[in-house]
């Protein structure tokens, strides 16, 4: 059963981005190895390399000292490596037992009866309440994980990779999961536990490796120190430019008691008042609820309860469509520029024409060309009015996105304003956003870059697993404290404070 896993100089690039820049890691058998790191640090890529979903550009994988050639998930399974994905890869319309036998190599007619007995036996052993004849889509996320773990064990996994397994499951399920993993490890199973939640890693793991920007930033053993882990994850704090104090302006957007639901998340009772000219940063690991909330602020997601008011206009916007929000001066800039905000195949000039929304039947070509030239010059976009939008670089697409904003706007909502951009573009983008603020617009933005959050926000909301902190004064935060909150540490303190206030 025992397998020692050794990763040697794993490299993997996606275009210009190095997701893994030469990572080496030794994991002894029978241990639970935590893999920590912020979004984009390279955790998932590394795990997908190990489980055969991604082929590395270079580097080797050794299992028990022997070079393993893992070119596909099937190879990985044959070598005994099984991965439990963040979103379980199962087949919701099937019965549990059918899902269970699907991945098993073998004859044409699966032996349903023996598989069902086997499933029941394994479930009994770990105390899982799974009915082989039930349907997969009736299970909770936690139960689907349990099914997937049993399936991986049954087809012979000796190395088990779990990617963010504690997202979306209940506390008792989490405890059961941890107990199961400990038992498996004690029998010699090698467990890799990928997470961004410090407390989970601290509670469960025998060792932890921290990745940052595609490199191994460091390793730690129990007893873990949260501060040390945070500084490994996010790097050293940088000196920040002194910030102006904000005069509280009139309220632009008031969210009251907002509840939002997505299949994986529940946000409950979130209230926020955005004042004019203010910048609010939403921090948190990806998928902690900040994107859901930001979308709801633009009418892109409908709240289950609570209300949104654009108070400067005295407007109750609850349940209105995005087009209504847009008419009221709210703009939304998504992170996936080319997928969600721009229209591939159309030119830069056509985008400006669309955004301005002119009157009449036919486009005035001369005026449109003039408008495009002006905007391109004003926003320093490297491109021509007739360039197709997908031919621009990421930085220029982001500039174009800003140039598409109409005036005046009361509120600009931005997802990851500078993700994937170089320094020059980053500074430029924020310069333009700040100009908007000076002109009276408020900005709410999401970022996973802590420095960006601290540097540009007046106030910060931290999201953790659907929980949102009260607005925190950015001046009272530093990278360490913010990093801790993002990882779920120090919440008692701020919530206690909010309770007293």
């Amino acid at each position: 059963m025992d397998v020692r896993v050794e990763l040697r100089d794993i490299e993997k690039s996606f275009g210009p981005v190095k997701a893994n820049a030469g990572i080496s890691l030794d994991i002894p058998s029978g241990s639970i190895q935590g893999i920590l790191g912020e979004n984009g640090a390279g955790k998932s890529t590394l795990m997908k390399v190990l489980s055969g979903f991604i082929r590395p550009d270079s580097g080797r994988i050794l299992l028990d000292g022997k070079a393993a050639s893992i070119g596909s998930p099937a190879d990985a399974i044959r070598a005994g490596v099984g991965m439990l994905h963040q979103d379980p890869l199962d087949f919701p319309p099937l019965r549990l037992v059918d899902d269970f036998v699907l991945g098993r190599p073998g004859g044409i007619g699966p032996e349903r009866r023996s598989a069902a007995a086997e499933l029941a036996r394994l479930a009994g052993r770990f105390g899982f309440a799974l009915d082989p004849e039930g349907y997969v889509d009736a299970l909770t996320v936690g139960e689907r994980q349990q099914l997937e773990i049993l399936r991986l064990l049954w087809i012979g996994a000796r190395v088990l990779i779990l990617d963010e397994p504690t997202t979306g499951i209940s506390l008792p399920q989490k405890e059961k999961l941890f107990a199961t993993l400990r038992e498996l490890a004690s029998e010699g199973m090698t467990v890799l536990f990928v997470s961004h939640k410090l407390e989970d890693v601290e509670a469960l793991c025998d060792r932890a490796a921290v990745l940052r920007q595609g490199c191994l930033a460091g390793e730690a053993e129990p007893p873990f120190s949260s501060e040390a882990l945070v500084s490994l994850m996010f790097g050293k704090a940088v000196e920040l430019a002194p910030k102006r104090r904000l005069e509280p302006g009139r309220s632009v957007l008031a969210a009251k008691g907002v509840c939002l639901e997505s299949p994986r998340l529940r946000i409950q009772d979130l209230s926020l008042c955005v004042r004019s000219g203010e910048v609010i940063g939403l921090a948190g690991m990806e998928g902690s609820g900040q994107a859901l909330f930001l979308g709801a602020c633009a009418g892109l997601a409908r709240p289950v309860a609570g209300s949104f008011c654009l108070e400067a206009e005295g407007l109750d916007m609850t349940g209105r469509s995005h087009l209504d929000y847009k008419r009221a001066g709210v703009a939304y800039l998504p992170a996936a520029r080319l997928e969600q905000a721009l229209v591939p195949g159309l030119t830069l000039g056509e985008h400006f024409t669309l955004a301005e929304g002119g009157r009449g039947l036919f486009v005035d070509r001369k005026a449109a060309a003039k408008l495009a030239e002006e905007r391109i010059a004003a926003y320093n976009i490297k491109g021509r009015p007739e360039s197709r939008i997908e031919e621009l670089s990421g930085g220029n697409q982001q500039r174009a996105l800003l140039a598409l904003l109409t005036s005046p706007l009361s509120l600009i909502l931005v997802e990851h304003p500078t993700r994937g951009l170089d320094i020059e573009s980053t500074i430029y983008i924020w310069g333009k956003l700040k100009e908007r603020c000076a002109a009276g617009s408020s900005i709410v933005f999401i970022s996973s870059d802590l420095d960006e959050i601290l540097q540009y926000s007046d106030r910060v909301l931290v999201f953790f697993a659907g929980r949102a902190s009260p607005p925190l004064d950015a001046a009272s935060l530093d990278v360490e404290r913010l990093g801790g909150l993002i990882g779920g540490k120090g919440w008692d303190e701020i919530e206690g404070k909010a309770g007293r206030a």
Binding site: F14, L323, K326, Q340, A341, L346, H351, L354, F362
Partner: protein, 351 residues
Amino acid sequence: MRKERLAKLLFGIGALALALGISTLVLLAAKAPPLAAYANIALGALGSWDVAANVLVSWVPLVLATSGLLVTFTAGLWNIGIEGQITLGAIFATWALRALQGAALPPALAIGLAFAAGMAGGALWALLTGALRTFGGVNEIFGGLGLNFVSTALNIWLIFGPWKRPGVASMSGTVPFDKSLWLPTLAPGSRLAPASLALALAGIALVFVLLRGSYFGLRLKAVGRNPRAALLLGIPAERYLLAAFLGCGLLAGLAGAVQVTAVYHRLIPSISSGYGYLGLMVAMLASNQAPLAALVALFFAALNVGSIRLPIVLKLDSSLAGVLQGSLVLFFLLGQGARQRLLERKRGGRP
């Protein structure tokens, strides 16, 4: 840019060559002389003024259907339901003419009303598909396909039921209209009506202008290529989708009305004659360019009409035209896919 255009042209020629190759293989397999077959198709399409006029007769509904499809394709829609929209256009036009036959209206007015009714019928059927898609979440391919069957059934029912010929109902359709209600043709005996030709040209020209220079066309393009971004840019996507269906339905209905008033002078069971499906191929082959679509439609119409000679002269089935058209579209799309891959590899992006 010029290089790109040249590459496109080369791929187009390559597709044509491959399609000819496949059809030649089919001919050889059928033990027929390929060269003679192609010569006969050419002769059948261009050999006399009469057959050339017939090419135009079949070009008119094809180009009308294609113009409609250019609108829906621009909106990113697969309007398979166009066949049913043509059929409903024909049914509505027939209904109007039957109703007006007794009234002492000037024929021009009656025919004009029949055209209007046909357009209304096509639009109704298209909007039904559109509503199913935008409000019911039924993909337009399935909704359209379902409604195609319904329209065929409706057509047959009318021909064999309420509108059947006195005496015995037959597959040859309803009783022909009074001659005064036939769309006037160039010469007696010809089926080429100048008015229908003018309608087809107007249809494709209108679509060309709308898609090229209007706000409507630009917004439709945005909705078709990225509905999410269109919404964020402030375009009510659903409304534009419905408008696209409406536009296509109007043109398809007009095609059906032309078939009834100018070509068959009655309602027949297969009144749409497959022009809708053929139009889908034309639009794909023309990469949604209106002028090019008009030319491709002319080529396809010529193939259809020309191949009618095959059974007479060579005892071959006339479906050879279909083989040629179908394989041409397939190879063209295949070529596009291959070109895309080559370009991606050159750029060295993600696989």
